[in-house]
Every structure is written in structure tokens, then in C-alpha cells.
Amino acid sequence: MGEVLLALTPAAAVSIWLFGVGVALNIATVLVAATLVEAVAVRARGGSVRAALGDGSVLVTALIIGLCLPPLLPWWIPALAGALAVLLGKQVYGGLGQNVFNPAIVGYVAVVLAFPQATGMWPAPDPTLGAVISNGEAWRYFLSGELTPLADALTHATPLDRLATDGLAALLAHEAAVPGLAATGAWTWLGLAFLLGGIGLVARRTIDWRLPSGVLIGTAATAALFAVVTDGAAVGFHLLAGATLMVAFFIATDPVTAPVESRARWLYAAGIGVVAMVIRELGGHPDGFAFAILMMNATAPLLDYWVRRSWRGTADS
């Protein structure tokens, strides 16, 4: 867990640099809520609170949720995400190692579905944002949930929002307006920060290289197919935009919710990429990775079973 935390640091740093103090507030709120709920739930189940909190898994969950959520949110939304992640994502199944679904994604999806407007509101990624939205305004919104007109004006569509609502042409027009970077704009830096941490984890053999490779291959192959068939966005855009790199290196690689057989892992990871691309290109939601993760989590035991039966010839009765 320590290594995963370390690998998430570059992404957290870039995120705070781009979006200001709100990210740190989110992470802290999720962490406090998740820790409290974890402590209460573990105590209720009769376990050792110290051991449960000492393994650092809550910290990783909080960091991932904090980086997934938009930086400007009233406090109850990240708090609810953290609490639901731990309670519904993990403890109801019997704690760490027993859960079917990735806890961080459970928490994230819960608040995305419950507060679609607030969680769909991303400010433009810009290091000078702090100068436009003052920390004081960010704090006020965090505590009261009342939007100041200024922040409202600043709210901007992410590249994926643009793709989902206005189509590829609008996206390309926007790209022309922001020269120098890929269509993903300053989001690219965030993606590269996740990539950096992820490569570190693969090099340290903390995570199985098959999982990120599978997600990226699945994403790229499906994106290429859409680019040809339905005239979708470029492969590079899909690999850099939204949560692709984060999911590939930090969420799909969770060993608890992934299958255990290597071939099943390939199928699982590629499946995440495929489902996410289908949702991005054809669905109404701007990003589909969270839903793709949950769907593939549900199939993980089946993939293991199937791989064992058809390749290894050993299936459990």
C-alpha cells in the first residue's frame, strides 16, 4: 500500500497544481469520512481497528476518490463518497480482501449518480486558477455549497463532456483554439503523472503488468474501431483523456477485485477498456470507466472459472 501511495503522489501534486486547494480538501474529507466509517464498521464486526487502519488501504481509497472527484464540491459530497466506499464497497462484504467491487469506484459512482450536476462541474485545468477562484471562495463553496457567480462562470466542459454533448467537431474546434497540447489540453499532464506512478509500480512489480497493458490495449483497439467505423475521436485522445491512465494503473490493478488467472486478467482488463469506450462513444455519460470497472468486477470470478475450465482443465465443482 505504501508503494501505491507513493506512486499516486505525482498525480496528486499535478492535480493540486492544476485545480488548487479544492483537491486537497476533497482528499482530506474523503479520508476523514472513510476512516471514521471504517473504524465504526470494524469495531462493529469485532475486529482490530488499529490493524484495519494500519494497512493504509483507506488512505489509497481516499486518494483515488479525491482525485476522481471535481475539485470544487460542497463537503458532504466527498464525505458521502468516502463513507459509502468503505461501508457499501468493502465492509458489508466482510472487510479488506472480501469485496467484489472496487470500493473507491463504488463510492465515486454513488455520488456521481446522486449529485450529477455538482459532480459534473469541472473548472478549466489551469495553474493560474488559484488567482481566479480564490482559496477563500473555494472554502466557502466547500463549507456551504453555495455557488458564487464567479465560479459558475468558470465552470467549463471537460474534453470528454464536449465529445459527449457537442460531438467530435466541437472538440476539434476547441483543440484548434488551445494550441500546443493534445485535444485533452492541460489534462494531459494529469494523465502523464498517473502514467509515471504506474510505470514505477510495474517496475517494482507491485502490480501485475498484464492489467494496465490489457486496459490500454482494450481501450486503444476499441477507440481505433470507433475512429474507423463511426468516425470517433482519435486513439491518442482516448488514451490521454479522462480516467484512462488512472484506471489502467491504479484501479484495474486492485488484486482483490481482479481475477487471479493471468489469462482471465487479460480478458478482464481488455474488457474494462472495451466497455468504457463503448460508453464514451455511444453512451450519454462523458466517461465510462467507473461503470466499466464495476461491470468487469462482477465478471471477475466468472472469468477465473471459465479460464480454468477451458484452458487449465481444472474447475471447481
Binding site: 490493524a51 479488506l96 480482501g97 512489480r205 482483490v256 481482479a258 487471479v260 480454468r308 471447481d316
Partner: protein
């Protein structure tokens, strides 16, 4: 509108109902009839104590609901529990007072008058005898049903308790605390920069330096020597002496027919026999011979040296190895004579001298090779002659350079012809199934032993003992033992007499701080009782420092490292979650990679587990449970077969008698006509 909806829904419901009904009928599982399943749970003693003539009739009665489930006295509460689970009812308390263990009938031969009344009473034909001859009970077939006791007119049948053999004891499930220590503080797996963890390959960082290098010293004889009267299968050995008898050093303490005799490690007086704790996963107490050594240490040896050793026929060598009581000293303690004889039968051509101590602490084999390489090489030649191997290979670990040099020097001095092979410092390279490939290039198939590919492995210490027995006529009475660990003040290698209480060894080593591991740092068992004795297969005592003490267990995150390193291709993490949930413990495994019987207990999985889960201990528990259950099933099956054969015989007799009577009647009728 509403009507439409109602009609649609009704039709839909009807269709679904029909579909379900059809599916239910088509796909109904072919389940065993319930009588079979009840019968399988009954102990098959056929004792009739339930009031039904045999187990099957009782099973039928239970299935029909006409009998309560608590009538089976021999099965005890375990059977009631199992029946309650099968039939989904609450377990009822057992009728009879629960016995304290298995019983076997014994006929007092001084009183038996040869009346044969007990013979027909036995439901499984376990009593043999003839009129006016002594009767005797076949102990292996007696089910302990006590039906014969009442039939004896002179009350000469008594029930006696049989000692539970060691092989049928089940080690307890480990508690979450009894796990391995912080990986950074004690020797353990290291991530090799260039390798993915692969099957049976754990790179271990060792702590051999602690005990390496010093010349072995001999540990003084303790006040009492404790010698477990057990053979390699865990069956009791019969002592040859009475309490109070004096024995000389090297006198056999067991009857000559024992597979592996036990010898007095010192001259002294047999004090008596008592149940004493030994080092065993199940914390068992077994019958031990207590020997009080005295000062008169005679140098006379009971066996004449065989000279020249290599000119002796293999049979003579094997017999000498058996007589000297030599057991595998690498840890297995399997009789070397049996192993070599089996190898000879398989026609092996290579003998591998196993000097690869893959454990993290042990250095006793390495030290022995450094100090007594000549004797080990001579022992290897003798063993090779005894089993008919033409080629000898000495396998040593990459790190033990001095041992390899010593072996090469000894080989050169003895005329060459033996190759020294260096194997990588991987765990568990010293396991005899794993050493074969790096040493010879042959692959032992899963589940098979090395002789199937023409290889036999012998541990360095065993070969040294063989040399002592054949060339010097000295039985196996002492061994070189490593004392190591962070808390050992005087780490090193010590010659220790077999039977020395571990307390004496620990006293020589220093003040223990944490756990004491017996047998090595990876596969070693935590010592529960310090009065347990040193045995032939015990290669080390590790005193853990506070820094080396175990970490609390954490939840499994299914990282699958255990699956990657398991040399047998098992899935330890899945097995452990099943075993802990009580699923299928003691039953045949659903697939070969979940079969606890294939686990060799090498603890590679435990070594790499990032959550410090006591995987090896949990798997060991399941292995014991499965083995015991299989034995019980086999015994019950045999009893059932004997009972059915007996019934068949009875009905045939009845038919024959009936037929004879019929013939007689017809003959009379014919005559009358």
C-alpha cells in the same frame, strides 16, 4: 388499457411458470438417495447398539423418519453432528456416555476356554478361533462394538483403549497471531531484479552467517534422555528392556523386528516409560523411554565393522543400515534402509548427495561437509552400492563455497569419479523433488518421487551416519544440530545425543526472547514444550529475537504470489479461504490445484505472503484432516465389506440348510409312496 396490462402480465406469468416447471423437471439433479448418504456417515461398526441389525438398516430407519439420529454409540457426537447437518435438523445429545477414544476387544488367553460363543457375535468376523482352541481378536479389524463381551461365559473379553497413532492426529488451525515475522527484519524472500516469481522459485536472503564457520562442539549429556518409541509411520515400537535394566551405549532399545531400531545414545539405566510431549504439529504426547545416563561410558560397540565396506553385497549393507537405525536426517526421518531398498527396486542409476540446505538459518549439512567430507563421500559410495546407483553427484548450494571445495578435495583423495554440482540459492531447492532437475536435468513428474526417474537423494548427515554404521559399526545415536537465530548467544553447530531434551539445547544457546523454531527458519515448528526431545530428523533450533517475532495476520488481498511460487502448482490462498470457512475439509478436493494432499509443506507460499497469513499451517491442518478422514473411510468400508460377506455367508448357509431339509422331506415322501 388496464385489462390489457392484466392479461399480458397473466400470460407472461403463466409462461414463466410453465418454463420454470419444465426446467425444474428437466434439470433436476441426480442426487444420491438419502439412505446412501446417511449410511456413508455411519461408522460401519455394524454393532447393532442402535437396535437395528447393522448400519444400513439404521440408515434406512433414519431416512424413513422412524429412528432418532442419536442412537449410534460408536460414532459419538461427531456422527450425530454430521447427520444433523445432512438432514438439516438440530443435533440431539447422544444416548450413551461418550467413550474416551477407540476401543479394541482383547481376549485374556489364560481364561479363554475355547467355547466359540464369541465368534458368531462378531459382526465383522474379527475373532478367529476353533472349538477348544484359544481365540484371538484381529486388532486391525475390530470395530470396538463390544457385542462379543456379553457372550463370553467366563468374562475373559475386555475392551481396551488403543493409543491414537500419531498419523491420525490433526494439527490445529493456526491462530491469526502465529505467523511469520517482518520480512525486512528476518531472512526471507527478496525480489530478484530479473525474475518474475516462478514456480518453486523464491529467492531467499539467508542468515546462515550467524551459525557458520565454527568447529562443532559436543553438547554434554543431559540427566535424562527421552526417546520416543515410534517408528516413521507413527506406530508405537515395542521396547526390549524392562525398567531398571542397564544398557550400554549403542544397545538396541527396541525389539529386533522393528523397521528402524532405536539405540541407547549413552550407557545408563532404563528409568521407565512415560507419555511425553514431542515436537509434532499436533502437539502430541507419545510413549517415550526414559534413560538415565551414568558415568560408565564404554567404548564397546555392538556391531562389528564391515570391512571392506564396498566389497559387501548390497543386501548386507542394507541390513546394516537398517540395524543401525538410520533415518533420513534432512528432516523427514524416513528409514534410509527402506528408501535405498525401494530405490534399488526402482533401478536407480544416480545417487544425489543432498548438501543443499535451502533453509535460511541451517548450516549443519554445510559444516558436516566442510569437516567430514571424506566420511560423507565414503558414505555416499556405500549408499550407492546398496541401491545399485552407478553415478554419484554432490549437490551444494551456490553460497557454500567451502563445502564445495571440501567435497572436491575429498573426492580427489578418494580417487575421483564423483561430480560436484552447484545449484542456485532458491527456495525450496533442497527438497528432494526439486534438487533432481538442477543436479541431473531429469524432471520428476508431479506427485512422483525421484526414484521414478532413476534418482535417489540422500542427505549429507544421513550419509555420514551410514559411513559410521558400516565402517565403524556405530548405530545412529547423535546428530549435528544448528543453533541459530537473533536471540542465540552462542550460535553454531553442536553434536547432540538423540533424546536430549530441547531445554538443554536451548540452555546452551542462550536466553530465548521470542518463539523457538525447531527444524529450521522456514518449515520449522514453533516449540510448545521445551522438554520435548531431540530426534534424528531435527536439524536445527532457531531462537528468534524480538525483531524476528511474528507480525499479526492481515486480510488476503488475492495478490496470487502464493500461487506463483507454489512448487506443486496449488492455489494456496483459495485453499486457505475454503479451509477457514470449513468448506470441504477432509473431503476429496474439487480439483487438483486445490488438493491439500499435494501440499508438501514447504511454506514457500507463507514466505512470500505480504499479509503474513499462516498458509502452510492452515494447509497442514487440511492435509492432516483429509488423510485421517480417508483412513477412517477406508476402515469403515472394510468393516462394511466384512459384515456384508458375513451376512451373505449366513444366508447361503440358511438356504443350503433349507434345501437339505427339503431333499430329506422329499426322500421321505418318495419312500412313503
Amino acid at each position: 388499457m388496464v385489462l390489457n396490462a392484466v392479461i399480458t402480465l397473466t400470460l407472461l406469468a403463466g409462461l414463466c411458470g410453465i418454463g420454470l416447471g419444465l426446467a425444474g423437471r428437466r434439470l433436476a439433479g441426480q442426487r444420491d438417495p438419502v439412505v446412501e448418504r446417511i449410511d456413508a456417515l455411519l461408522p460401519q461398526t455394524q454393532c447393532g447398539q442402535c437396535g437395528y441389525p447393522g448400519c444400513r438398516p439404521y440408515a434406512e430407519a433414519i431416512a424413513a423418519g422412524s429412528a432418532p439420529i442419536n442412537l449410534c454409540a460408536p460414532g459419538g457426537s461427531a456422527t450425530v453432528q454430521a447427520l444433523a447437518e445432512l438432514l438439516q435438523v438440530d443435533p440431539e445429545p447422544i444416548d450413551e456416555a461418550e467413550g474416551n477414544g477407540p476401543l479394541v476387544a482383547r481376549i485374556d488367553e489364560a481364561q479363554c476356554i475355547g467355547c466359540t460363543r464369541c465368534l458368531p457375535a462378531c459382526p465383522v468376523d474379527a475373532i478367529v478361533g476353533a472349538p477348544k482352541q484359544l481365540h484371538t481378536v484381529l486388532r486391525s479389524e475390530c470395530t470396538g462394538c463390544q457385542l462379543c463381551v456379553a457372550t463370553c461365559p467366563v468374562d475373559c473379553i475386555t475392551m481396551e483403549a488403543v493409543e491414537v497413532p500419531l498419523s491420525s492426529r490433526i494439527r490445529p488451525l493456526p491462530t491469526p497471531q502465529s505467523t511469520r515475522a517482518e520480512p525486512l527484519l528476518r531472512p526471507g524472500p527478496v525480489r530478484h531484479p530479473h525474475s518474475e516469481p516462478r514456480l518453486g522459485e523464491v529467492w531467499v536472503r539467508d542468515a546462515k552467517q550467524t551459525s557458520r564457520g565454527s568447529t562443532p562442539t559436543t553438547l554434554a549429556l543431559p540427566e535424562r534422555l527421552i526417546l520416543p518409541l515410534l517408528d516413521h509411520t507413527g506406530t508405537p515400537l515395542t521396547p526390549a528392556q524392562q525398567p531398571g535394566e542397564r544398557v550400554r551405549r549403542g544397545t538396541p532399545l527396541t525389539m529386533p523386528d522393528a523397521t528402524v531400531p532405536l539405540h541407547a545414545p549413552a550407557a545408563g539405566v532404563v528409568e521407565g516409560f512415560e507419555h511425553h510431549p514431542i515436537v509434532h504439529p499436533s502437539a502430541a504426547r507419545v510413549r517415550c523411554l526414559i534413560l538415565r545416563p551414568d558415568d560408565e561410558q564404554s567404548a564397546v560397540l555392538p556391531m562389528p565393522p564391515l570391512d571392506p565396506p564396498l566389497a559387501q553385497p548390497p543386501q548386507v549393507l542394507l541390513e546394516r543400515i537398517r540395524q543401525a537405525g538410520i533415518r533420513g536426517m534432512g528432516g523427514g526421518a524416513f528409514p534410509s534402509a527402506l528408501k535405498l531398498a525401494d530405490a534399488a527396486e526402482c533401478g536407480v542409476d544416480v545417487l544425489v548427495v543432498n548438501g543443499v540446505e535451502c533453509d535460511t538459518y541451517l548450516t549443519c549439512d554445510e559444516t558436516l561437509l566442510c569437516q567430514h567430507a571424506d566420511e560423507v563421500i565414503a558414505g555416499a559410495r556405500i549408499a550407492a552400492r546398496a541401491c545399485g546407483a552407478e553415478q554419484i553427484l554432490v549437490a551444494v548450494k551456490a553460497g557454500s563455497r567451502y563445502a564445495a571445495e571440501a567435497a572436491r578435495r575429498a573426492i580427489a583423495a578418494a580417487g575421483g569419479g564423483i561430480r560436484v554440482v552447484t545449484v542456485d540459492a532458491l527456495y525450496p531447492a533442497g527438497n528432494e523433488r526439486h534438487i533432481v532437475y538442477p543436479a541431473t536435468g531429469r524432471v520428476v513428474p508431479p506427485g512422483a518421487r525421484p526414484p521414478t526417474v532413476g534418482v535417489v537423494c540422500q542427505n549429507v548427515s544421513t550419509l555420514y551416519a551410514i559411513e559410521r554404521a558400516v565402517v565403524h559399526g556405530e548405530p545412529s545415536m547423535a546428530r549435528l544440530l544448528t543453533i541459530s537465530g537473533g536471540a542465540a548467544e552462542h550460535p553454531g553447530n553442536y553434536w547432540v545425543a538423540v533424546g536430549t531434551p530441547l531445554a538443554a539445547v536451548i540452555a546452551a544457546a542462550g536466553e530465548p526472547q521470542g518463539r523457538i523454531l525447531v527444524g529450521g527458519g522456514i518449515m520449522g515448528l514453533p516449540l510448545r514444550d521445551r522438554s520435548a526431545p531431540v530426534t534424528h530428523g531435527m536439524s536445527g533450533v532457531i531462537l528468534e529475537s524480538v525483531a524476528e517475532t511474528p507480525l499479526p495476520e492481515q486480510p488476503c488481498i488475492r495478490c496470487t504470489r502464493c500461487t506463483l511460487v507454489c512448487p506443486e502448482g496449488l492455489r494456496p490462498h483459495e485453499m486457505v479461504s475454503r479451509i477457514r470457512a470449513g468448506v470441504g475439509v477432509g473431503e476429496p478436493a474439487p480439483s487438483i490445484d486445490l488438493d491439500p494432499l499435494r501440499c508438501t509443506g514447504c511454506a514457500s507460499c507463507e514466505l512470500v505472503c505480504p499479509s503474513s497469513i499462516p498458509l502452510a499451517g492452515v494447509l497442514g491442518h487440511a492435509r492432516d484432516a483429509t488423510r485421517v478422514r480417508l483412513c477412517e473411510r477406508e476402515r469403515a468400508e472394510r468393516a462394511r465389506e466384512r459384515f456384508e460377506a458375513r451376512q451373505l455367508r449366513a444366508s447361503r448357509r440358511k438356504r443350503e440348510k433349507e434345501a437339505a431339509r427339503q431333499r430329506k422331506r422329499e426322500a421321505i415322501a418318495n419312500k412313503g409312496a
